[in-house]
Assembly symmetry: C2
Homo-oligomer: 235 residues x 2
DNA sequence: AAGGCAAAAAGTGCATGCAGTTGCCTGTGG
DNA sequence: CCACAGGCAACTGCATGCACTTTTTGCCTT
């Protein structure tokens, strides 16, 4: 190895590669079907092929890349059917998180959820899409954590990241920001009441709406879309 | 490499290693916390360390092994809390599968589910635990497939296999076989009626019961249990 | 005898090398 | 002009080697 690795800091070289390549896939910088050449990647990141191979193996285990024996790796290509199944799963998972959150969040968690949610209302009025997106991500992450179930958390975040490339730009629909906030509001209200079923239903509806918008978008995008550099979503 | 690989057949060496090691973990032959020495494993399977390393990486990505940088890999050690979260997730996932199955199974799938379920009644009367266990696995797999959702299927089977080591011998509880069948019956009935909510609830209850029995058992087993060679469960 | 320390042993992490495979490219026959 | 076979370049898969880190061991000190 020549010098210190530049791009990412912590962990072994393999970990860094997993993050580096994984990020590029999740953010859509590498698009489904794109070829992942071991030699080029190794050169690109200035490491040998060994850690690259290991990283590709792990990413393949995560479902982010697809490996054809003796024929190289490509960014996982998601069929329309599988995409739909992931969106549907996402709705179910978020429903579980919301339900558990309603039942289990500590008062501290509830307070923070409420505060941040109310704060984000301003962003809606301002139409600050990028900032809202940040709060949106935080909001959902709070739900996932609030469920107090490690495994559900893992499945949910994993699914979410695999869906990330397909959610982009869905916030462009006019009025989506305000609607999103209202949907969040329904979830928050239910959670504050401790009403698990209502929270779950509200969350499921919320995600379903996002899914439909995204899915339509993704449908057009999937085969060979333009490489936009947009923020990732505003669900 | 000396000769043809012996133990497992298809795929690359790495795939074989993933299966070989993964199986040994899932079946409890390798127990949580056990050290996974690259050199020994390589010698044990007569390959070089490289594919072993890749396999360990992938298993780590799946959560079956834990890797401490520079300090080797061990079979993933599951905390009591994480174990509980997986059992709880399992109940939720099976509920989803059952609900979807009720709504979506084709008539062929429904017929087969019913037939096999009725056939297994005989095994209960005979007290044929091992044979019942086989039908039990089939039964649940049918539910997972019947949901017609690839991603849910993946999450469910993954979670199930990670729980496998902790479910063993839970069928030893007296009368468990008959109760298990009755619980299955409730699920089947609801599915036949096309009643998704009832099917979901029945499935969740069923898994919850199994979970409690298993969890208690696992609790005692976890630190350093005897290496029984029992069949895996009768949920 | 217990504790500490240093050197050796063991083991991991990555680079490199070689064999085998795939896919392309070219040249030849139809 | 097209079909196809042979050869070549590119790339994957695995083994091996070396550097570095952790762990163990045995000796020395107190």
């Amino acid at each position: 190895m020549s010098g210190k690795r530049s791009l990412v800091r912590s962990g072994t070289t393999v970990d860094q590669m997993v993050r580096a390549i994984g990020d590029r896939i999740v953010t859509g910088f590498l698009r489904p079907g794109e070829k992942l050449d071991e030699t080029s990647l190794a050169a690109r990141f200035d490491v040998s092929r060994t850690p690259v191979r290991e990283a590709l193996g792990q990413l393949s285990a995560m479902g982010l890349v697809e490996r054809r024996p003796n024929r190289g790796a490509i960014v996982a290509v998601v069929t329309q059917e599988h995409l739909a199944s992931m969106f549907e799963s996402m709705a179910e998972l978020e429903a579980i998180c919301a339900r558990f959150s309603a039942e289990r969040m500590t008062s501290g968690e509830r307070r923070l959820l409420e505060i941040e949610h109310q704060a984000s209302a301003r962003l809606v009025q301002l139409g600050a899409e990028e900032d809202y997106e940040y709060f949106n991500t935080e909001f959902h992450t709070r739900l996932y954590r609030g469920a107090h179930n490690t495994h559900v958390y893992e499945m949910t975040t994993m699914t979410r990241s695999r869906l990330a490339p397909f959610r982009r730009a869905q916030f462009m629909l006019p009025g989506r920001l305000a609607k999103s906030w209202q949907e969040h509001d329904a979830i928050v209200t239910a959670i504050m009441r401790g009403d698990g079923n209502a929270a779950g239903k509200a969350a499921k509806d919320h995600v379903s709406i996002v899914s439909e918008a995204s899915a339509v978008f993704a449908l057009g995008e999937q085969p060979k879309g333009a490489r936009t550099t947009m923020p990732v979503t505003a669900s």
